[in-house]
């Protein structure tokens, strides 16, 4: 267990204090959505992955939470996916266009697309995620203002687009452009300890997944369910919001959403979940 030191020991102690800390590991169950869509929630890790098996965060949640995601009616995240559909069809900007004006029926044009993001964007010479792709379309094709982070329907529209890939395995192209160096930078961010608590992403999600941090059952931190419905907020939560939240919880200064640092992290963490089905909107604690 590389990079597992004093803080790891503290985590274990904190876990042991909790009443429910004794059970561990992911739950052995299959996620089938609406009794129809068989989801890949455990799969062999890609080459070069530090773990043998990639496991969706769904397996680390309680039976009640898992059941919410398995039913698209009961999943409260679907309320926001429906709002995203309305946003998809809404005409905005000087060109008098909506997303649908160019892309038509999202269930066809966007099928499987969300599973391939982040992607290389040659124009900016950087990786681009769904949120920034929406903004690029808005400014370049619709003549509309870019959506500010987490506002103006960004989470809902992103969730709607990613939901069109429900069940499709996450697969990003690391050979395009300069994706390799962004992957490398993301790996660096992942293993860098931050904050007063001196934790890296890996401290919890690699070295301690399956253990408890107080009463929280730590998952591998895969992001195939994002934007995800969190019971805590009672709302959709975006990937960059969750990244920032996690870094904040280590009591560190946290980078801006869509900053190079977090875009690199998104590339790397998405890759760590390669092969898992897109679950958007997932349901988490």
């Amino acid at each position: 267990m590389k990079k597992f030191g004093k803080v790891g020991a503290v985590l274990v102690t904190l876990g042991a204090l909790s009443a429910v800390a004794l059970a561990g590991g992911p739950v052995d169950q299959q996620l089938v959505i609406d009794g129809e869509i068989e989801m890949i929630t455990r799969t062999e890790a890609p080459d070069g992955h530090p773990l043998d098996e990639v496991i969706s965060g769904w397996h680390y949640r309680t039976g009640e939470t898992r059941a919410l995601e398995a039913d698209t009616f009961e999943n409260p995240g679907m309320l926001f996916v429906e709002q995203g559909e309305a946003a998809w069809n809404k005409i905005e900007g000087t060109e008098g266009k909506s997303c649908a004006s160019c892309h038509g029926d999202a269930s066809e044009s966007m099928a499987g697309i969300g599973a391939q993001y982040p992607k290389w964007d040659a124009d900016s010479g950087k990786p681009i995620n769904v949120e920034l792709q929406i903004n690029k379309c808005r400014t370049e094709n619709m003549g509309a203002e870019p959506l500010p982070f987490d506002k103006g329907g960004q989470k809902e529209l992103t969730a709607y687009i990613k939901h069109q890939s429900l069940g499709t395995p996450v697969s990003i192209d690391l050979d395009a452009g300069d994706m390799q160096s962004w992957w490398k930078k993301g790996e660096e961010v992942y293993y860098t300890r931050t904050g007063q608590l001196n934790l890296s992403c890996a401290s919890c999600h690699e070295q301690n997944n399956g253990n408890y941090i107080r009463a929280d059952h730590l998952s591998q931190g895969n992001i195939n369910g994002f934007p995800t419905y969190r019971l805590k907020q009672g709302a959709l939560v975006s990937v960059h919001n969750r990244f920032r939240g996690c870094i904040r919880d280590t009591r560190a200064e946290f980078p801006a959403a869509f900053s190079d640092e977090l875009m690199a992290l998104e590339v790397y963490v998405t890759w760590r979940g390669s092969g898992l089905s897109v679950e958007t909107p997932g349901v988490r604690q």
Binding site: F73, E74, P76, M78, L79, E82, Q83
Partner: protein, 108 residues
Amino acid sequence: MANAKPRVKVPKSASAGDIITIKTLISHKMESGQRKDKEGNVIPRSIINKFECSFNGQPVFSCDIDPAVSANPYLEFTAKVTEAGTFTFKWTDDDGSIYEQSKDIALK
């Protein structure tokens, strides 16, 4: 809340005498009136306080809702189907707004 939008799930058909399950979900923040903002001011209560379901004009089920119900309120209940007709659903907001939905059911 302008964007409160209900979802309702009712079977499309049933046999006379069947007891069916109805599920409803509506987007609403259900602000409890118990929280304070960053400046320490109480955030005013804003919830859906009542839900009613009728079938062909007759009351089937209703509930009185308090701030302890979670955001995006979910309700699941049953109804006995005796004839074909229309279920109507009505949510009442603290601000006086009413959100409505209806679903038809046929007899098998």
